[in-house]
Symmetry: C2
Subunit: 143 residues, 2 copies
DNA sequence: AAATAAATGCGAATTATTTGCATTTAAATC
DNA sequence: GATTTAAATGCAAATAATTCGCATTTATTT
């Protein structure tokens, strides 16, 4: 992680490295709260938010919004994956494989006022198996 | 608008109707702040947020997240459109036409822990023509 | 017109994110 | 390795976003 930071002209500080490790090790995008919990050494929330913002501006991480009313972040790994979010319990799963990038130029033609497309995000909202089972069980229980 | 509300079992109140009109008339998803400004009669912010939440739960509107650190909402019209967001100035444009829904079943097979997909959101992040021109002008200006 | 559950407004509380400033620290230089 | 310095951190306080409790009002039902 230190190398990544230095290559972007950032100082390889302990808090940043710890934060990047947390993000890298997580299987789903991480919120400020979660990051605070998972970073061993207590890291001030201001530092977390500042790190999110600088890492985002250097395209080391990218912001992901999941309709949870607070931001999440994941590594900006350039691989083309997206997210499934359970509208019942909020669980998030990464899934991979889509061809949206290959359609950038077509979408750009359709957009009147845009010059370039640089990223996209694709989120699916549905019900996870756990919640689906619970609902079914509830239904069966009705007198 | 009154009919839509009543059909969902909601009272057709003035604040809600005014809010729905604002959302319907906007060409891009609306935030709480924008809604507050555009609704003629002063509508309390708590009322706005409560309306957003009840309308969302009834699938009359849907939440849209644009990496702006606050939520936006648009009519839940079931048509398959998405958004372009300028990473420089934040401008948002709706564009239409994609075939993501036709790929739901394939994505569902790829997702280990999900039972259903009910919605998706697809956002493109790029640079609008206005910002692109500004940047170019700046570049040209460099000694 | 009266009854009633639902919705609003207001104020205050939470939660999310940012800012100012004194102190610390990574990296560059000697 | 010690010195220097700009960048980053921590702390406290500020601002923004969202929610909550409760008394009052209002859309619907009777």
């Amino acid at each position: 992680m230190a190398g990544i930071l230095r290559r972007s002209g950032l100082k390889a500080t302990h808090p940043r490295i710890a934060l990047l490790n947390v993000i890298a090790e997580s299987s789903a995008p991480v919120s400020a709260q979660e990051a605070a919990k998972r970073v061993g050494k207590k890291m001030d929330q201001a530092t977390i938010y500042r790190a999110f913002n600088t890492l985002k501006s250097k395209k080391i991480i990218r912001q992901v919004d999941l309709r949870h009313n607070h931001a999440h972040y994941e590594l900006f790994d350039y691989d083309d994956h997206h997210h499934m979010i359970c509208i019942s319990c909020g669980k998030v799963e990464d899934i991979s494989g889509c061809e949206v990038e290959s359609m950038y130029s077509a979408f750009l033609r359709a957009a009147r006022s845009f010059a370039t497309i640089e990223q996209h995000s694709l989120e699916f909202y549905g019900v996870c198996k756990t919640c689906a089972e619970k609902t079914q069980r509830k239904t069966h229980t009705i007198a």
